[in-house]
Every structure is written in structure tokens, then in C-alpha cells.
Symmetry: C2
Subunit: 148 residues, 2 copies
DNA sequence: CAAAAACTTAGAATCATTCTAAGAAGAGGG
DNA sequence: CCCTCTTCTTAGAATGATTCTAAGTTTTTG
């Protein structure tokens, strides 16, 4: 897989350059801390993770970096009710399943055809830039088989 | 249409009674103010409308009444990003179209088949109590034909 | 190097919502 | 009718996530 391997830090460097922004250690660290796991951390959770590596970083900077990452389209903001915003590094169009028992959030891939069907529900002349879909429910009770 | 006509205030009285709650003038007024229009007002907007009729009502009471109406399933809370919660009297399953230019919110009816298709995307063992769908985009630019 | 621009930071401010504590209103039993 | 218990309403304080402010740092440019 030689040179075709893409490093996420390269993505970041590239996107920041494209937007005329600087690639700072804080931005790098905040971005990596979101990529590291497939959970959907809040700003406070990211702050806690990042602080372990860079104890001087501030919560304000975490918020600033997150805003930058969203502008650069490397991270997506996710909202459940009015709870703290969560941040998601999965850039393919997907829905979110919010487990009301555990509070855990899973990504649900959305087939192109389903998005098309949703767009067909709109009245003449309406265009949707994005469609936000959130499931609220419960995940499997039993421990999952032996996949993953 | 004789006696079959349902008055919304009867709905309210019934639901409150079912839940062992009292039917107060404040609850009645808050409910009517939401039913009166198909917009999706915020608590502050409802407060303003209701205050015109009952100048002594408090914002806390509006929030309390809204919570009660939601418990009684007569009103639905709607969230866009982290903006103020909006309240919707449309009880059939529907999505929301949020016009990013005007800020106006429209209801979009959801066919049963589409909800079924969405539920089929969930992994084994996952159940969704509810699915929240929000479109973000722009409505028709031109003035609508001559309907409505 | 000097100056300008972009960033980071701590703490204050904001804003929607919830909480608290006290008073008002309604239901029921005598 | 009173009395008492419970439910409601109310004003204002508290909360919590996020944004703003103002001052220092770092980076880039000339
Ligand atoms: Mn400071
Ligand atoms: Mn008070
Ligand atoms: Zn996600
Ligand atoms: Zn609605």
C-alpha cells in the first residue's frame, strides 16, 4: 500500500492550507483525539483527552479548534436534543443511533437510494443541503455474537 | 358533522385527566397558542403570545405547561442545532424542513414505507422508538403559484 | 529584525432552560 | 362551608454549554 496510504494529519495540513489557516499542535491534537475512536465525544471529553498530552491547552482552544475542523469539513457536529454537541469524524453520509439506555451513539450508513427517496418528499422548488437523521432507541440486549 | 367534531380543548381536558393532572387556564392557553398556527414557536414566542391574553403568566409557567403538554403527547419538541427548542402540534409522524434563509420550519409528511426502510437499516436487535429527521435547505425562491 | 496577522488562553458574558422557595388555587372530607 | 392536602404558578436564582473579550504568543512577511 506504498505511497497511497493517506495520513489523517496530511488531510488536516492540506485542508488548513486550503483555507489559509495554520497547522498548530492544538488543532492536530484535537483532530487526532476525535479520529482515535469512533465514539462521538463532547468538547469536554475531547478537552480531557487532549489535556493528557498537552496540559496547557484550554477549553476555549478546544472549541476554537473544533470550529475550525468543522469549517474544513473534517469533522461533523452532532446534536441530540439540547445536550452538549458531539463531534464525529465519519464523513460519509450517515445517520446516528442514540441508545437511550447506554447513551452510546452508533453510526448508521445511509444508502444513496434512501437519501434520494427522502429528497423526493420535498415540495417543488425545495432543495436540501443536508438531511439530519437520528434514531432514538435501544441497542441489542444480548452481548453481540463474536463479530468485531 | 354534528357531535363528532373534536375540540382541541376537549383533547387537552381528556389527556390531563388521564394523567391525573389539572386543567388550568395556563395550560389551556399555552396549548391553544401552539395550535393556533402551524409555525413552530419557541418558548419565548409562546410566552409573548400568551402574555397578551394573560399578562400575569410567567415564562417558568410556559416551560412547565410545555413539559406537561409533551408528557400528554399533545405537542412535540423540535430541535435545530442548539437553538431554542421549538414546539409542534402536528402529531402525525413527520420530518422538519428548516429553511436556512428564512428560518421558517415546514412539516414534511413521512410515508410509512419510508419509516420502514429506515428501520431496516438498523443492525440486528436494535429497535427505534422514534426517528428524527430534519432537512436543512432552501425553499422555493419564486412566490408560490396561487395555491393557499 | 520589525511589524502584522493568526492563534491561544483565562475568565467573563450570554442565553436557554431548570431549579428553588413561597404563595395561590382546587379537590375532598367532615 | 372550613380545613388540609396536593397541585400549580410564580419570580428570581442557579446551571451548563458555548461564545466573547482582551491580553499575551507564535508565526509569517517584508
Ligand atoms: Mn485572562
Ligand atoms: Mn420569588
Ligand atoms: Zn457519526
Ligand atoms: Zn412539525
Amino acid at each position: 500500500m506504498a505511497h497511497t496510504t493517506t495520513h489523517h494529519s496530511d488531510d488536516l495540513a492540506q485542508r488548513l492550507a486550503d483555507s489559509g489557516l495554520r497547522n498548530t499542535p492544538q488543532r492536530e491534537l484535537v483532530y487526532q483525539s476525535i479520529l482515535a475512536r469512533r465514539d462521538h465525544p463532547t468538547a469536554e471529553e475531547i478537552f480531557a483527552r487532549v489535556k493528557a498530552e498537552m496540559p496547557t491547552i484550554s477549553l476555549a482552544t478546544v472549541y476554537n479548534c473544533l470550529e475550525t475542523l468543522i469549517e474544513c469539513r473534517l469533522v461533523r457536529a452532532v446534536h441530540f436534543e439540547r445536550a452538549s454537541t458531539r463531534y464525529c469524524p465519519n464523513l460519509v453520509p450517515h445517520a446516528h443511533f442514540h441508545d437511550s439506555k447506554t447513551g452510546v451513539t452508533h453510526d448508521i450508513d445511509l444508502p444513496e437510494e434512501l437519501l434520494a427517496a427522502l429528497k423526493k418528499l420535498l415540495p417543488e422548488g425545495y432543495t436540501a443541503d443536508m438531511i439530519d437523521i437520528t434514531y432514538h432507541g435501544r441497542g441489542a440486549e444480548k452481548p453481540e455474537k463474536l463479530k468485531d
